[in-house]
């Protein structure tokens, strides 16, 4: 399935979201009509089982979709849809039946938010960590006090972000009624999908840098003829291929440990490639009209989105003198902190 799937997503992006269109949509909330067109292809939250209207895909399929969307800088709310659907799939049957079909069809804008919220007597109170595309959401899944809750209202506060291709908002609850629908979901699937998205973005930034190094001439020859530039491109190729391998492996393994490792690795790789992509372009790379900065901004914003690389890396190594006493699998990421994903 995966190669056809890759072609399908790539073709959608090429037809629907060429870079001028991405730029036109930048800085706004996701376009609902565009999202429904994407969802109509069966690509939204692709891992949702068929009984809930989904495509019944694997995590590897979800990673392929994300990688291609990342490559195109697609300003689509694929990440919140996937995060919300994945969380619901660990939840109770009633909630799955109520919400998954709407998420899959693109009709229901659901988001998953973590951190900063307390659940007490069926009510939520507090402000979440920044959540992608939460500014126009109409269903709010919140991880609080070790469980997953659903609220139908929230105060949505859109955030100003360096990255115009993905909107961010925080959600505030003030004694808001909410229903507990399941345990705190494992962050692994979301980590893996964002890792794949970043691996795709890194590859696009490398392609852009290499293409420019071949045509930009100084001192009578392409700048890519200089070892300082060509060796840098080779180093970036290492980042790109390693990131792709890490994301694909995490998607196959579907474990919190592999997901944490891939997210940290791909975040660092994307930032590095996007940074050097600007550098290889020189002055033109620092202009608004050139696309290099879009990847630079997306890379930094994405790396910071679901967990800091140092925290994720530290979580891979048992810290306590006696191993085994660490927190249970996946019980993590509340308040943004990452604990042992073993």
């Amino acid at each position: 399935m995966s190669y056809d799937l890759r072609d399908l997503v790539r073709a959608f992006c090429a037809d629907t979201l060429p870079m001028p269109e991405v730029r036109r949509l930048m800085g706004a909330e996701p376009d609902p009509a565009l999202w429904r067109r994407f969802a109509a292809l069966g690509l939204a939250a692709i891992t949702v089982p068929e009984e809930y209207g989904g495509a019944g895909g694997t995590l590897a399929d979800a990673a392929v979709v994300a990688e291609e969307l990342g490559r195109a800088l697609a300003p689509l709310p694929h990440l919140p849809a996937f995060l919300a659907a994945s969380a619901l799939m660990e939840g109770d049957e009633e909630a799955r039946e109520a919400y998954l079909p709407g998420i899959v069809s693109g009709e229901l804008a659901a988001v998953l938010a973590r951190g900063g919220v307390r659940a007490d007597g069926g009510r939520l109170t507090g402000t979440t960590a920044p959540a992608p595309d939460a500014g126009t959401a109409d269903l709010f899944l919140v991880v609080a006090d070790g469980a997953l809750h659903v609220a139908e209202t929230a105060e949505r506060t859109p955030l100003t972000s360096i990255d115009g291709t993905r909107s961010l908002a925080v959600l505030t609850f003030d004694g808001t009624p909410a229903r507990r629908v399941g345990p705190a979901p494992s962050p692994a699937a979301g980590w893996t999908v964002l890792a794949a998205e970043m691996a795709g973005g890194a590859r696009a930034a490398l392609d852009m840098a290499v293409a420019y190094a071949k045509v930009r001439e100084q001192f009578g020859r392409p700048i890519g003829a200089n070892q300082a530039v060509k060796h840098l491109c080779a180093e970036l190729l290492l980042d790109v291929e390693a990131a792709a391998s890490m994301a694909a492996s995490a998607a196959r393994e579907a474990s919190p440990r592999a997901g944490a490792m891939a997210l940290a690795y791909c975040g660092d790789a994307y930032v590095r490639v996007a940074t050097e992509c600007v550098q290889i372009h020189g002055g033109i790379g620092f202009t608004w009209e050139h696309d290099a900065h879009l990847y630079y901004k997306r890379a930094h914003a994405s790396r910071a989105l679901l967990g800091d690389p140092d925290d994720l890396y530290a979580s891979l190594v048992d810290g306590a003198p006696q191993a085994g006493g660490a927190s249970a699998e996946g019980a993590s990421a509340e308040g943004g902190a990452v604990t042992s994903p073993r």
């Binding site: 290499v210 190094a213 071949k214 020859r221 392409p222 890519g224 003829a225 070892q227 530039v229 060509k230 060796h231 491109c233 080779a234 180093e235 190729l237 290492l238 291929e241 390693a242 391998s245 890490m246 694909a248 492996s249 490792m261 940290a264 690795y265 690389p309 140092d310 925290d311 994720l312 890396y313 530290a314 979580s315 891979l316 190594v317 048992d318 810290g319 003198p321």
Partner: protein, 400 residues
């Protein structure tokens, strides 16, 4: 190994477990069962690791025990070859490697040049006669081999070698100086890149030969390395007579044949991630724990190292990359990981890395001292970057 496989390869058939079982999974399970029985019958279990175990990147053989190591390697390789385990590929290779971890396996280091560098060139470019005479003994580990490629004035610019071969009837007379020849002091055969046409452009006047290292005129002098060990050598060739029948590939076609060896070497060195101790991160974490230094910063550092090693392993297994590119990418990723490991060891061990405080830390100094070799051997990291930039990314070529 990613060796080129001739259809008429001398290995015994499809190997153990082939054709048995219902599906691929059952097939692999049957293979593993047979392999485990094979190993159980021949090898003792691996002794438990201790903190003072060696942590080496370069397998330097203790000279006192070299003859013994060589004998054990030859016996073990023959057993692997005869049972069909010598040239496994894909998931069987991985499964077999995983099984080996439980056993005290003889060190094959003295045979690796012959197995992974010389044999692929003989197999790909040698005449039928040469393959018939030389290939099986190489693959079965009956003979050991070394490379005679680099020269004092031909390092990264290998095609500028000046060692001359002059025709003399059905043989050649070879004279020149080679360097960095690992294992030349115990090798039976040398794979020599020599100039047979000094008037042709530099890549076009080269021929590859197998040289009998016991022939008159071959002199091997050990070179002491920065580790203190001496596993590589200078080799002086003075009027050495080499039969034309021991030529690998066509006359003046040596560059192409040599590239086969170099590519195989890169693949083998990319596989050097497997030479990095598999429990490297756990061992460093244990050292840090014992020293009360397993801080969040150290854990982050070790996690980063773990990821770097994982990346190198994963890229080495990719089947959607051009094998030559994968080999260069993997080699460079191994060296990134090794650099992180050196820094992590330094952070964890402090002065115990540089001076023997009798606390188990000094074992890591061997790792530290071996690390620079990996960035130089098998084509320097800079040459690997040039290869990737030009052949894989299509950037302009360097002057040659």
């Amino acid at each position: 190994m990613t060796g080129e496989r001739a259809p008429s390869g001398p290995g015994p058939g499809a190997g153990p477990g082939a054709g048995s079982g219902a599906g691929p999974g059952a097939d692999l399970a049957a293979f593993e069962k047979e392999a485990r029985a094979f190993l159980d019958a021949r090898l003792p279990p691996r002794p438990a690791r201790t903190p003072t175990d060696r942590v080496a990147l370069l397998e330097e053989i203790d000279p006192e025990r070299e003859a013994e190591t060589l004998r054990a390697a030859k016996l073990w390789q023959a057993a692997l070859y005869d049972a069909g385990y010598a040239e496994l590929e894909g998931e069987r290779a991985e499964a077999f490697a995983a099984l080996l971890d439980a056993y005290d396996v003889p060190d094959l280091q003295p045979l690796l040049v012959g197995l992974h560098i010389v044999a692929p060139a003989v197999r790909t470019h040698g005449s039928d006669d040469l393959k018939r005479r030389r290939l099986r003994p190489l693959l079965r580990g009956e003979v050991t081999a070394c490379q005679l490629f680099s020269e004092p004035d031909a390092g990264s610019d290998l095609a500028s070698v000046r060692t001359r071969a002059v025709r003399d009837g059905d043989a050649w007379t070879v004279t020149g100086q080679k360097v960095w020849s690992s294992g030349a002091h115990h090798a039976d055969l040398g794979e020599a890149l020599v100039r047979t046409d000094p008037d042709a452009p530099k890549h076009k006047g080269l021929t590859l030969f197998l040289i009998d290292m016991r022939a008159p005129g071959v002199e091997v002098r050990p070179l002491r390395q920065m580790t203190g060990g001496a596993s590589f050598n200078e080799v002086f060739l003075t009027g050495v007579r080499v039969p034309d029948a021991d030529r690998i590939g066509p006359l003046n076609g040596g560059w192409k044949a040599a590239i086969t060896s170099l590519s195989s070497e890169r693949a083998a060195l990319g596989g050097a991630v497997d030479a990095v101790p598999p429990d490297l991160v756990e061992r460093l974490a244990e050292q840090a724990r014992r020293r009360g230094r397993l801080t969040p910063a150290t854990r982050a550092r070790l996690g980063r190292l773990d990821a770097a090693l994982t990346a190198a392993r994963l890229v080495n297994r990719r089947d959607d990359l051009d094998p030559a590119a994968a080999a260069s990418v993997s080699k460079l990723l191994v060296n990134r990981a090794v650099a992180l490991a050196v820094e992590a060891a330094s952070a964890v061990l402090g002065p115990a890395l540089a001076a023997d405080l009798s606390d188990g830390g000094y074992a890591w100094s061997e790792f530290l001292l071996g690390a620079p070799a990996l960035r130089i051997a098998g084509g320097t990291d800079e040459i690997q970057r040039t290869i990737l930039a030009e052949r894989h990314l299509g950037l302009p070529r360097d002057p040659r």
